[in-house]
């Protein structure tokens, strides 16, 4: 079986977790895609950590407002019912557990729920921005990642080697091969995504995986 990276499937699966009215913060990059796959009848309320609720889509070209950008500095819009606040309030909302979930990108994630996604010493040191607060504060933390890096190594590990963003905070890891819940020091495989198999996942992942008794195949196509 050949691995083909599939960001859309990761986003699709995470999107199914949400219920109507959930307040969610989506990290820049892959996590942002989640917003494209929210099921019919479910409205997510997006929080933007640079200071507002009700994050809406990018405006049409030419209609951008330089004073209204997302946490990546890109022009966006605000939906009716949204509101602005300062950075202390923004992170009070995040750290105080008022966000149902956050979806964050991954450099490494391990079976203890540790996440590393902000620093490769000596190589990439962009700073943690809001990632540490989001990981600690959101009620449910989704780590969204391709299952393998460019060299084919598993991004799910027994123990992160990179500096941590947060210790023991990840609840779910969603990759393009399966859905894992972090529990009691292991990745519990809840779903494997067609065309991958349980055996493939167990063989190729460099971590302790427990196959849930209700583990099932899911077709995200």
């Amino acid at each position: 079986m050949e691995y083909v990276a599939n960001k859309e499937n990761i986003a699709k699966r995470i999107a199914r977790f949400f219920k109507n009215g959930d307040v969610v913060n989506l990290g820049i990059g892959l996590p942002t895609l989640v917003g494209n796959y929210v099921p019919e009848g479910v409205e997510l309320i997006l929080q933007s950590e640079n200071g507002f609720m009700g994050l809406g889509p990018a405006p049409e070209p030419g209609k951008e407002d330089p004073m209204l950008v997302n946490a990546g500095g890109m022009p966006v819009s605000i939906l009716p019912g949204g509101c602005y606040f300062d950075s202390a309030m923004s992170f009070a909302i995040i750290r105080g557990g008022h966000i149902a979930a956050t979806v964050l990108g991954v450099l490494e994630v391990d079976q203890e729920g540790n996440l590393a996604n902000y620093k490769i010493p000596g190589k990439m040191v962009p700073g943690m921005g809001g990632a540490m607060d989001l990981t600690v504060g959101a009620k449910t933390v989704f780590a969204a990642t391709q299952h393998f890096d460019a060299k084919g190594s598993s991004k799910l590990l027994r123990r992160c080697k990179l500096p941590l963003t947060a210790a023991a905070q990840v609840d779910y890891v969603v990759t393009d091969v399966g859905l894992f819940q972090v529990k009691d020091g292991a990745f519990v495989l809840k779903e494997y995504f067609k065309p991958y198999t349980v055996d493939y996942i167990l063989e190729k992942t460099d971590a302790d995986i427990v196959v849930d008794k209700d583990c099932k195949e899911v077709d995200l196509a």
């Binding site: 019912g81 509101c83 750290r95």
Partner: protein, 225 residues
């Protein structure tokens, strides 16, 4: 934007259970949710903890009272965490006779403790209360040579909030000095019931002027005209 349930005051106070810690906005009655207070007085649940700036005004000669004073008179609360009780002789009597456990907290410390709970902080370091009875039993932490009291975050189960306007998603604005503790308490409880003088459609409030973002609010009640 998803709407929050609009309920009656009587329905709303059913969300409060015996023994709950209940935060009530207002300062000497100004900015208190009077409809919710009346419903809670009527309901009769006792043994709760009141977290409030003060016990409002009560004149035993005339029987006049405002704010949370009716709840004190009916002894709905067995504990009060509070900064000022000087305008309510009944709570002073209850304290002196050991009927109610009154925990006095400096007003600014009360505000920060509630905000800290809402903001996911464990507490704050404040110079207020150093060298006074407020220090008793508390950790003193030195930061760069200066001493501070460690004051712990203070959360509640239910907040009763009075807003001037709320939109149907829960965004709130307040009315003059009626703002006081309301926006802080709205951050610090799992159930946050807003009694609004006016409930407006989503999109009617200017996003620049919202004081309490909708994310904190769980229920709306139409205030009494």
């Amino acid at each position: 934007m998803v709407q929050k349930p609009i309920v009656t005051a009587d329905e709303a106070v059913k969300l409060i259970k015996e023994g709950d810690a209940v935060m009530v906005g207002g300062f000497l009655g100004c900015g208190s949710p009077t409809g919710l207070i009346a419903a809670l007085e009527k309901r009769g649940t006792g043994k709760m903890t009141l977290i409030c700036n003060d016990c409002a005004m009560y004149n035993p000669k005339t029987g006049e009272m405002n704010g949370v004073a009716p709840l004190v008179a009916k002894k709905r609360f067995s504990t009060a965490v509070i900064s000022h009780i000087g305008t309510n002789p009944e709570i002073q009597r209850q304290m002196n006779e050991g009927e109610t456990d009154v925990q006095l907290v400096p007003q600014g410390t009360l505000a920060e403790r509630i905000r800290a709970a809402g903001a996911g902080l464990g507490g704050v370091l404040t110079p207020t209360g150093l060298g006074t009875e407020v220090q008793d039993g508390k950790k003193v932490v030195e930061v760069d040579g200066a001493k501070f009291l460690l004051e712990k975050a203070l959360s509640g189960d239910v907040a009763l909030i009075r807003a001037k306007k709320a939109d149907k998603s829960g965004n709130c604005v307040y009315d003059k000095s009626g703002r006081n503790f309301n926006p802080l308490m709205a951050m610090a409880c799992g159930t946050v019931i807003v009694e609004a003088d006016e409930i407006v459609e989503i999109g009617e409030l200017d996003p620049e002027v919202v004081v309490t973002p909708s994310v904190f609010v769980t229920h709306l009640v139409q205030g009494r005209k």
